[in-house]
């Protein structure tokens, strides 16, 4: 069977903090394209992995970057001994064979890349491959999901209105403290008390968002710190390595953040 390697066999741990699971299931049932909005490391990827597993569909993930073109998504001609051969890109494979295609940080991709998803995300559900003169009709299982971090892009790098309006959206933020502590405890293997401290520390850094820091510490970072702590590293040193140093090079902000962390412990 196609796309076997894209199937998720074991349940990925996901701790819901609202009705996002039910909402997504309803969206999938009508194959509505969905966008997941939220800061980095807050569980968007984990969520879509969990949903793909739950729905029993293969998941093809593409991390977009600014050099990414339509060809990287759709496919390209390659040269071999006999001449040129066509090679399906990840999006085309998902469309042909029926996967959930997850485009991470879609705004990073170039305009031509975002525009090709237009015919796929309206009633037509078609992917035109211009270079091959082919029109791929989407497999009934196919769904497009994009992720994007609204805080982090500049105004110029926003999605076009015509793109935005094709999607339903789920808003991801860092979960409430008690839920986040549960996640940190589970993922890092630390005691709940330690996890709660880490979440409190995370909140300190999030207070500095836009005022010294571009972004506060993500759940992912807190898990990193927790993993260090689980291996016997003192919490303060673990936070320094996993949070303070990666977050900023600004000495004043580092000192302030370190002092705030010390105050939490």
């Amino acid at each position: 069977m196609e796309l076997r390697e894209y199937r998720i066999e074991r349940e990925p741990y996901y701790r819901a903090s609202g009705d996002e699971v039910a909402l997504f299931e309803a969206a999938y049932a009508s194959r509505m394209p969905v966008m997941l909005k939220g800061p980095t490391g807050c569980g968007k990827t984990r969520f879509i992995e969990h949903m793909a597993w739950r729905l029993g569909k293969p998941l093809i993930t593409v991390a977009c970057n600014e050099d990414m073109t339509a060809a990287d998504l759709v496919g390209r001609h390659l040269l071999d001994a006999e001449g040129t051969v066509w090679h399906d890109g990840p999006l085309t494979r998902a469309v042909r064979h029926g996967a959930i295609c997850y485009l991470d940080e879609i705004v990073e991709a170039r305009q031509d890349a975002t525009v090709i998803i237009h015919p796929l995300t309206d009633e037509r559900r078609l992917l035109p491959i211009e270079k091959r003169n082919e029109l791929v009709v989407a497999h009934p299982d196919f769904q497009l999901v994009i992720a994007y971090n609204p805080g982090y892009q500049s105004v110029v790098k926003d999605l076009k209105e015509s793109t935005k309006q094709r999607f339903g959206a789920l808003d991801f933020t860092y979960p409430p403290a008690s839920v986040e502590a549960e996640i940190v405890a589970h993922e890092a293997g630390v005691e709940p008390t330690v996890a709660r401290r880490l979440v409190q520390i995370g909140e300190r850094s999030r207070n500095l968002r836009g005022r010294g820091l571009d972004e506060g510490a993500s759940t992912r970072m807190l898990i990193h710190a927790g993993r260090l702590a689980a291996r016997g590293v003192a919490l303060e040193a673990a936070c320094r390595m996993a949070l303070v140093l990666p977050l900023t090079d600004d000495a004043d902000v580092r000192d302030a953040l370190s002092a705030a962390i010390t105050a939490c412990l």
Partner: protein
Amino acid sequence: MSEVPPRPEEAYARIRAEGGAGELHFSDVERQLRHFLTALWGRDVPMRALSAGGDAPEARRSGFDGGVIRLPDALPALAGQPAEALFRASLAHLAAHLIFSRRQLARGLKPLLMAVVGLVEDARVEHLAMRAFPGLRRLWLPFHVAEPSGALIAADLMERLSRALIDPGYEDANHWVAKGRALFFDGKDQWEDPDFSLRVGGLLAGDLGKMRVGLNHKTYLVEPAYRDDNGGLWEFDTPPQVPPDDHDLPLEAMRAEPSEGQEPDEFDGAARNDPAAASAPAGEADPEAGVPVARYPEWDYRIGLQRPGFARVVECPAPPSSPALIDGLLARDPGMVRRVARLVRAAKFSRPERLRRQAEGETLDLDACVEAAVERRLGHAPDPRVHAATRRRFRDLSVLVLLDVSQSTNDPVSDPAGGAPTTVLALERHATALLAAAMAEAGDRFAVHAFCSNGREEVRYQRVKDFGDPYDNAAKARLGGLRGRYSTRMGTALRHAGRQIAGQPTHRRLVLLITDGEPSDIDSGDRRYLIEDTRKAVGELAGAGVDVFCVRLGGTSAADARDPARIFGGRNVLTVERLERLPDMLPQLYFRLTA
């Protein structure tokens, strides 16, 4: 009317008199403190420095009046703690008041009662803060150094009670201290109630009264030193001397006034319409005398206000030497010229462009593919460059190289590599020659200007090459002819440079300041004044879409780098200790620009 507790500036004056070692200025830690406060409480509370001299009457206000936190302008190391910790402890304490204290009417209350209530209130808010942030105890505790003694002096007993209320390990057999401790901790459940301090403090003050230990409220100071005078706790009958929201208003008011600041445009226009004026000034006495072209405001951090039209820019001709000097410099090391040129060329600042016939790329170049297929059929080796790619190649950038040509640039720099000693100015010239050659070759829009200053009325500004001019022998001759004189009024020079580059029609605009050090001028004794003004100027330019980048030549020590980092932002300063390092450093500069 009630007695007003002693003013905090007196308290801090005493701390300063006692301390002195390891002193730190508020403005050195201001940013850090601000972020600390925001991180803890999610609030951005305005902070002001409180002059310990007490000469500015508007600064005579208690720690947290009107939602403004006032901290002393300088603090020493104390109780084995660095000054930084004292600042932090003071701020954390004030923040606890701001979050948990509520103002009480002071009318009719005796000074002793107010002092004891304040003591209990200090402990109450600190304990509430420690419930959220237990680590704060480690910040405050080291400053509690009171020890048990037989002395029955109110101030002494109160200092001991303060310690007993925060230090679980402290033992004191005194009855009053023990009673205070018991009352305080037995009432744990009522800490959330702001009247708790009034109740417990009332009881304890009554006991002190009965013990007939007097409190000399004229000399009484809240201890330990990180605690404020609690003036902000009380509502007095007398209104505060200055409205609480003074911190932003006067600035706006002063801007609105007609001032000298309006003049520059007239000056500027005149000078521009008559280029001869710049090169042939009226007085023939000094061939390098210039014409005044603009006035700029300066930022006075001591009053927190702009001084409108305070500094004057005088444009002076740049006397030429021979272009051979510059060509000779470059001829010494053609490899270096090539390296710098390559780096400058490689930096990209614009939208992508399509390139055909590439060895690799994201799409195939169809024409090339067809040709390759034909070649193969014919039995020839096909050209493998059959891809098309997109690259950023156009350079949408203008650069104004601003050279510091003050007296200090004549200082010799010892080459750490052991080469021949040279001067900062020679290094500047060499670096500029390399950059200018590279930028001219790459077709960049750039200008080279230089400045020095002789007091605020004479900020001298010289144009080696303007944006519209070619980088020709005349420009090279002017670059070679630069001499180091006078001082370094950096902020004004930057403002003027900012105005020169502002009109450039490019995507990015960069002022590249090449200097040996920090701002200074003959008429400014306060070293910090020009540093703060320069910092302000950098901010103004940034606001106008002009990046300022500082290349420091010569200085190597980390301490030297502190002020530039403060002024320009740590990411916007490059220290190049040897010229050979310039090619290594340039990519960093461009990287930061494109990142």
